[in-house]
Symmetry: C2
Subunit: 445 residues, 2 copies
Amino acid sequence: MAPHLADWRGRYVGSALAVVKPADTRQVAAVVRACAAANVPMVPQGGNTGLCGGATPLPDGRSVVINLSRMNRIRSVDAANNALIAEAGCTLAAVQQAADAENRLFPLSLASEGSCLVGGNLSTNAGGVQVLRYGNMRDLVLGVEVVLPDGRIWDGLRALRKDNTGYDLKQLFIGAEGTLGIVTAAVLKLFPRPRARATAWLAVPHPAVAVELLGFLRARCGERVTAFEIVGRAALELVLRHIPGARSPLAGDHGWCVLLELTDTLDAQALDAMLESAIAAALDTGLVTDTAIAASVAQAAALWALRENISEAQKIEGVSIKHDISVPVSRIPEFLERAHAELTAMWPGVRIVAFGHIGDGNLHYNLSKPDALDNAAFVSRTAEVNRVVHDLVASLQGSISAEHGLGQLKRDENARYKSDLELELMRAVKSAFDPRGLMNPGKVL
Amino acid sequence: MAPHLADWRGRYVGSALAVVKPADTRQVAAVVRACAAANVPMVPQGGNTGLCGGATPLPDGRSVVINLSRMNRIRSVDAANNALIAEAGCTLAAVQQAADAENRLFPLSLASEGSCLVGGNLSTNAGGVQVLRYGNMRDLVLGVEVVLPDGRIWDGLRALRKDNTGYDLKQLFIGAEGTLGIVTAAVLKLFPRPRARATAWLAVPHPAVAVELLGFLRARCGERVTAFEIVGRAALELVLRHIPGARSPLAGDHGWCVLLELTDTLDAQALDAMLESAIAAALDTGLVTDTAIAASVAQAAALWALRENISEAQKIEGVSIKHDISVPVSRIPEFLERAHAELTAMWPGVRIVAFGHIGDGNLHYNLSKPDALDNAAFVSRTAEVNRVVHDLVASLQGSISAEHGLGQLKRDENARYKSDLELELMRAVKSAFDPRGLMNPGKVL
């Protein structure tokens, strides 16, 4: 059972009565009925790639882990309706491939896509690098099939773009981290597959200019702006230091860079021309100070590798204190400025590794230790650092968990920042669906 | 009080203890507290343009109508975050204008936009003609402010693109038709404003070909396909007969036509070229049999008027039996074929006026009486017709209310088609939020 009792990052190690791997929805329902009858808590689990311990059982050993990985069928693809039905145990990559085979795009894209499962994507309302254009997982779901906490199966697998016949119950299960029921399948939206992709690495003088540049590019290029990721100097330096073969795309020293990607159904030449003319205009007006445009698929992949290897490089560098925050896009510059000022005043020499989905107002705002400090001393300041970062986020009407969810990691932190009224409404929903509290206890609430 | 006691179509006439028009959220909360204390039911009301009697009080005269029209401020616009905060009493047109003033688009667009209010758009999850590209109202909302049934104010006015800190409560209020609380303000998403628009009227040999054409166009033009509306022959004939100045865009007799609109941030010339080349290819392959491309804004408006005047023309023609259905886009041809066969077999001579948002799988499927029949005799067959149409929709996993909601009109019909389990879950939500059933009784559930 061991691989199913600990989380991927090794932060949480739990215990369980059993790990079960049902093969279909009826088996899930049978397991849930049995657990409910015996008053045994249940922990739904997908690819176990979550970052907040949402899929790890508690250490009390009272619960049963229900792992969905055997439910890995694509039940159907309806290209004319731009939709497919995937079971919860399909990997995200398998869904992408099923769409691709029908000349369609399933746009959710994140680092763990080869191993994370659709049920987990849905239960955590996963984000990633194309949210700017296509939205979060919530925006990509038309319908769901759910085994309720008493073992009954709710068939909400509707494949409709418009349906106003009462409360949209599926929304409750999306992002609920398995605390209201077990999602066993979903109807997912497909999109036209882009034919052209144009990628560039841009130096910007300041995060405020990055925000301005985003508005400039969207006005010119519209929804072609598919990814707009910011990378701070310290983040890039870690990648260049630790990742073999990584090279800086630009000469000189730049405080902030942006990884930009446009996609379109146009031919590649037309999109390249649009990218080049947009960047030329941005250089003219000082929104961009230097640029490297990918001239091949390999060069584009190299630029993406710089962005995608930041977490890995930070891991090699040593321990870190991480945040997954969001604020309104317009407040990003203020957040970065104030957080930097407060943290460096409190803790001289600390290194701030900031990067992420600035187009969504979502930053991964991490701290690496000053070289001299030992790991334990560094980590012991986590709560103090969280208070600074999260208080600031709250004062900017932001979120302390933009795309990773709450799980065990941020449950108590969330209770500090949510209003009592909102927590009360959340508990009312929980009680309405799971009055005995058997679904994934200790998570979210 | 009279204008607030009947619905716009004159189908429902209710009675109320009072109509109140609060000027701000605190006044709404005060009214709700007073009603709750006195155990008086409340009926939230916006522009009173709904089609299902959702905003009309019941005839029992026990309730208070809370009309939000005085709450008509745009509280703020944050162009860099592509969001604005509108109070529930803003007209949809006022929101569109506020976005436009900042060089942004608020894409929700429907016939009543000059008089319908944001609170109603949100409470009915309104649809309209640009859902294909931008989604329903639900997809356009980032946050809400709600006065709960006990008068407490929930401030959920977050302006975040990513926020995974618990159940997404706002989703419950969207589309709830005022049965869970009163939405007083919302954070709405803005988009880059298209600079170019290209419009065409296309004859297609069959609805199945229209569906194929949609896939063809989306593969070529991507998200530029902003509207894709089907108009059946009988619908066009009514407009040509009753609307002064209406002219058929095409010579000859065509069973089905499509109104297509592309928009883009490109310049107009480039978009026109894309439309022309796409249509040329569609003519070559027989997906389109004849076409009229708008050469001016006035010509585009004339094409749109043909589509938008169908309801008006049908009203002039006489009484009709209407449906607002959706099925998966791929099932539209089957729906049209089977519904036509069943209805004409049951009722020889009945005229079927079918049109609507085929790109969303949503048809307005209406029947006009055979000339000889009197109104009462015609209308008396409504239930019988509904059974045929809605049974067929249910067999195709469709929805009996795609974009208009349930209100009073479809409450019982919905109970016939929803599963007992789903109705039970809906009632559990209702009980959790409004245990005394004071919010808009008799609607939805």
